[in-house]
Symmetry: C2
Subunit: 177 residues, 2 copies
């Protein structure tokens, strides 16, 4: 159910994702919404964001031993495949929450933690490559920002070019301190 919510939020945003859509998409019973999510929609979206964030973090960690550029390439590949497979409907659920749900403290905090973990992973990989703490932090910020922005722009362009360019330019930068 949380996975379905994440998938639908990716595509349609928070406001565009209703409980009715979620139960239909997941095949779960409708009557148990308020039982599993006593916190209502906020809770469901919050959990969906954390799930997606953790998923992305493990993807990056898979390429951990190959350095920061490989981690970026890996996550870009996954999202690029999602984009083309869904005809550019699937963006990033965390970005969706950052855009629509930032007023809700619960959602803002969930997104914040996800972004922090992503940056922490990249920072760690860059430090292993000999980056200074400060430069690693700045660069990790840049990478995550560019990645999120690229997902936005890919949908608008109906093309993976922005993501390709971001990966192509940022990859070498992440390696060489």
């Amino acid at each position: 159910m949380v996975a379905s919510a994440a998938e639908l939020v990716r595509r349609n945003g928070i406001a565009g994702t209703g409980f009715r859509d979620v139960v239909e998409h997941s095949g779960t019973p409708r009557g148990s919404i308020s039982h599993h999510f006593p916190g209502g929609k906020r809770q469901m979206v919050s959990e969906a964001v954390r799930l997606s964030g953790a998923h992305a973090a493990t993807i990056m960690s898979h390429a951990e031993q190959d350095g920061p550029a490989a981690a970026l390439a890996e996550i870009c590949n996954v999202f690029r495949r999602s984009l083309v497979a869904t005809d550019y409907a699937a963006g990033c659920p965390v970005g969706a929450v950052a855009q629509e749900g930032w007023r809700e403290p619960e959602l803002r905090e969930a997104a914040s933690e996800v972004f922090d973990e992503w940056r922490r992973i990249l920072r760690g990989l860059m430090r292993e490559r000999g980056w200074s703490e400060e430069r690693a932090e700045d660069m990790a910020d840049l990478a995550v920002c560019a990645f999120e922005g690229a997902l936005l722009m890919c949908r608008i362009d109906r093309s993976t070019a922005p993501l390709d360019h971001v990966e192509h330019l940022l990859g070498p930068m992440l390696e060489a301190g």
Copy 2:
């Protein structure tokens, strides 16, 4: 009225911005909505995006003679001031449409044109600095992606640090081919 719509969409997104909010914020008569916007909400948001996009384009153009880094710095400064002045409520209306309104062809096209113009401006400035056509295109993509992503992340972090980092890292890159 369009300006008010742009301002409200920046803050609350499309779904979070109703006609009632717009007429209240702008002080315009409520009864004339369907007269001025026969295309409904879509039309209003579309015009708001184009207005904001043109506004940002003129801001970048003001620093035109000082090169691409100055143009980026200028637009970053404007949005940074908006962020702190509104306690991190004001994001980018174009980004909001890219996230929420991309399914509506009219909105998608409006956002697409705005992004294209921004990239075109940056590309032109970089070509003047001796960049190759291909590298200039890639780099312009990266700059706009990182900028949009930074606005997202600034709201979540409640800090201008992501935007600062993007500007500091990207500025020198835009100058030196």
